[in-house]
């Protein structure tokens, strides 16, 4: 017991002595949180939409007034009037416009005669995000335009979808925070349990331990406990600073923090024991360095940290099911975004602890108490 703690003590003392390491394991996920958080998922603003009004009737004017109202409020897009359709499309091709809205010559008449009035949205479809945003704005706008002034006159048999939002609006940076927290744990595991562990081995530090009467289990638990403590710290620091940066409401309620700490512990144990299994027979210091990027990509992106897993192809969903990141990310999301009870993350916790036990068992079987 004492012997195992000696290993832990050594590691923590060293961790404290070289703050660069602490920095690296937290700066990378924080930078990623900030950059990705603001790079993605921000609302598109001031898209330039050319409007070609070939109708010039009363109905077309009404439509254009609605667009102007959007511009004044949500500022998603601004309209620029064109007289000539060709000039507008040319500007779209040249990148001066993001889309062209074409109101055909007989629009007003079609509206009045109820003969399927049409407005054409000509888009630059090389940019999926702009395309989706504009469709998302114009489709409901035209829908609203089609509605008669009073809802009572609605056809009683036509079903409508009433959307109820359970939680306040979640900006993307908040969505990403769970992933960044798990990433901080992973980076800590990768550096402490991978790179430094193998460097120590190659420098002969382990040889120094192996000649002492510490047992095989003392060594295994010592290495893993030290790694887990560092990973838990990294995860907690990121969860706290990240919550402030992402403006998570009420981030420091003790109940929530306690639950987050538990998920942090489970995720750290899972990732450290996984790393220990990967490195248990490695001697070459290049190996952990070379696998860092691959492992990071392979575990982080399929986990649903940046994009929901339901959008993935089958093979990637298979990775996501086995990936401990997935469960850590899910549990952190539940707690950070919804502040759920522990029972909502019980499944994740179970997976993570079982996963850790499995990894440790395999690593113990492979671990050699000799050189």
């Amino acid at each position: 017991m004492d012997r195992m703690w000696a290993l832990v003590e050594r590691d923590l003392r060293r961790f404290r002595r070289s703050p660069t390491l602490i920095f690296v394991s937290m700066v990378f996920p924080l930078v990623q949180l900030l950059v990705l958080g603001y790079a993605f998922g921000g609302k598109l603003k001031d898209l330039k939409v050319g409007v070609v009004d070939q109708d010039r009737g009363v109905q077309a004017v009404k439509l254009r007034e609605m667009f102007n109202a959007v511009h004044a409020n949500a500022r998603t897009f601004q309209t620029i009037d064109y007289h000539d359709e060709r000039a507008a499309v040319d500007d779209l091709r040249n990148g001066r416009l993001d889309a062209v809205l074409d109101i055909p010559p007989n629009f007003s008449r079609d509206v009045l005669e109820k003969t399927a009035p049409r407005v054409a949205l000509i888009e630059d479809n090389t940019d999926n995000f702009i395309e989706a945003t504009l469709q998302g704005v114009f489709a409901p706008l035209l829908g609203a335009y089609n509605q008669p002034a009073t809802t009572a006159a609605r056809v009683p048999t036509a079903p409508t979808l009433a959307v109820v939002e359970l939680y306040p609006y979640v900006p993307y940076i908040q969505y990403l925070l769970a992933g960044s927290t798990v990433l901080a744990i992973f980076v800590s595991a990768m550096i402490g349990g991978g790179i430094i562990y193998i460097d120590d081995k190659a420098r002969g530090l382990h040889e120094g331990y192996l000649v002492t009467p510490i047992t095989k289990f003392g060594l295994i638990f010592g290495f893993n406990l030290a790694g887990t403590i560092k990973a838990v710290i990294a995860g907690l620091v990121l969860a706290i600073f990240g919550s402030l940066i992402a403006r998570i409401p009420d981030p420091f309620s003790p109940a929530r923090l306690a639950k987050i700490a538990l998920v942090d512990l489970a995720t750290s144990l899972a990732l450290i024991s996984m790393m220990f299994l990967f490195m248990v027979r490695v001697n070459d210091p290049l190996v952990p360095r070379a696998t860092f990027g691959v492992l990071n990509t392979l575990l982080f992106f399929p986990s649903g940290a940046v994009y929901p897993a339901s959008a993935f192809p089958k093979w990637m969903r298979a990775i996501s099911i086995a990936d401990p990141f997935t469960y850590g990310v899910h549990a952190f999301k539940e707690l950070m975004l919804k502040n759920t009870s522990l029972s909502a993350v019980a499944g994740d916790l179970t997976f993570l602890f079982l996963f850790a036990a499995l990894m440790m068992a395999a690593a113990t079987a492979l671990f050699r108490r000799t050189l």
Binding site: W5, R10, R17, S18, G208, V211, L371
Partner: protein, 328 residues
């Protein structure tokens, strides 16, 4: 019972035999040296004895414990300084020692006192709380010697304790070891490829080459065991005709060669040959210009038993050192 008993111990790596059926006994309180060139199998042998790698065949007992079946007991009774410097650079000297005291299970009450005593013994007490990275190579070696003794072992293994140190640091490490040995009645097994180190430190030396033990005895007896125990270098004025033959006929002379005006006389008994030579010169009425008597070195011993010079061996293994290649 010897402190270390080795019986036909063998280590094979994928068909390559690094240590080949080596047997010897180290008595309690003895300083025993394994002398051999790079790749001779010294580290492999020490690693087997310190339970770091299992032997392929044969067995050994350290402090009476079998190195395979009672590995934990062996570990408790030995101190080990591996070939590589393995102290934690970011931690202080005291921290390094405390952590090893804990790894060895030194009781809490005695830890601090032992650390203080040992740092004084290796003359590093003024560095106690400084990080190890501030120490020179020789100081780090001395710290590791202290580390290896933190649990008061009976048997101390050192793998090339002075390799890579400058001459002053080497001497200070030697002195440290001799002092500690005397104070603590340690049994020491060390490896080295320096002849002077083996000669000065060791009570007995085992010469290892290509994994085999080729000779084992005290430095003096090893040197005495080979023919031509002394070399006399001598010059005369004037040199009469047939003087070379006169020299060859002196007692105990094995061989005489002349280079310019200097004669190299190889003798099986330096003192007797020297006296006879001085008398012969006086009788012939010629005077000695210079005379030096050199004794056999361990290098000559190594050469005698392996057919090669230890120095050459060391250089051969350094062919990838660029500075060595430019000289060619």
């Amino acid at each position: 019972m010897g402190a270390i008993e080795v019986e036909k111990i063998t280590k094979r790596f994928d068909g390559f035999t690094a240590v080949d059926a080596v047997s010897f006994v180290v008595e309690s309180g003895e300083v025993f040296g394994l002398l051999g060139p790079n790749g001779a199998g010294k580290s492999t042998l020490i690693r087997m004895l310190t339970t770091l790698i299992p032997p392929s065949a044969g067995n050994a007992r350290v402090s009476g414990f079998d190195i395979v079946h009672s590995a934990q007991e062996v570990r408790r009774s030995i101190g080990v300084i591996p070939q590589a410097m393995t102290s934690d650079l970011d931690l202080s000297l005291a921290e390094n020692l405390i952590i090893f005291a804990k790894l060895y299970g030194v009781p809490r009450e005695t830890r601090a006192r032992r650390v203080k005593e040992l740092l004084e013994a290796v003359e590093l007490e003024q560095w106690t709380d400084k990080p190890v990275k501030f120490l020179s190579g020789g100081m780090r070696r001395r710290l590791e010697i202290a580390r290896g003794l933190i649990h008061e072992p009976q048997v101390f293994f050192l793998d090339e304790p002075t390799t890579g140190l400058d001459p002053v640091s080497r001497v200070s490490v030697w002195e440290m070891l001799m002092k500690l040995k005397k104070e603590r009645n340690l049994t020491i097994l060390l490896t080295t490829h320096y002849m002077d180190e083996a000669d000065k430190l060791c009570d007995r030396i085992a010469i290892v080459d290509h994994g085999k033990l080729v000779a084992l005895d005290s430095p003096l007896k090893l040197k005495a065991s080979i023919p031509g125990a002394n070399i006399l270098e001598v010059s005369f004025s004037p040199v009469p005709e047939g003087w070379l033959d006169t020299l060859k006929s002196l007692p105990d002379v094995a061989r005489v060669t002349a280079v310019d005006h200097v004669f190299r006389v190889s003798s099986n008994n330096g003192p007797r040959t020297t006296v006879a030579l001085v008398e012969a010169a006086r009788g012939a009425g010629i005077s000695l210009v210079s005379l030096s008597v050199q004794s056999t070195t361990l290098d000559d011993v190594f050469m005698h038993y392996t057919g090669r010079q230890l120095r050459d061996e060391l250089q051969e293994s350094a062919v990838y050192d660029p500075s060595f290649m430019y000289k060619k």
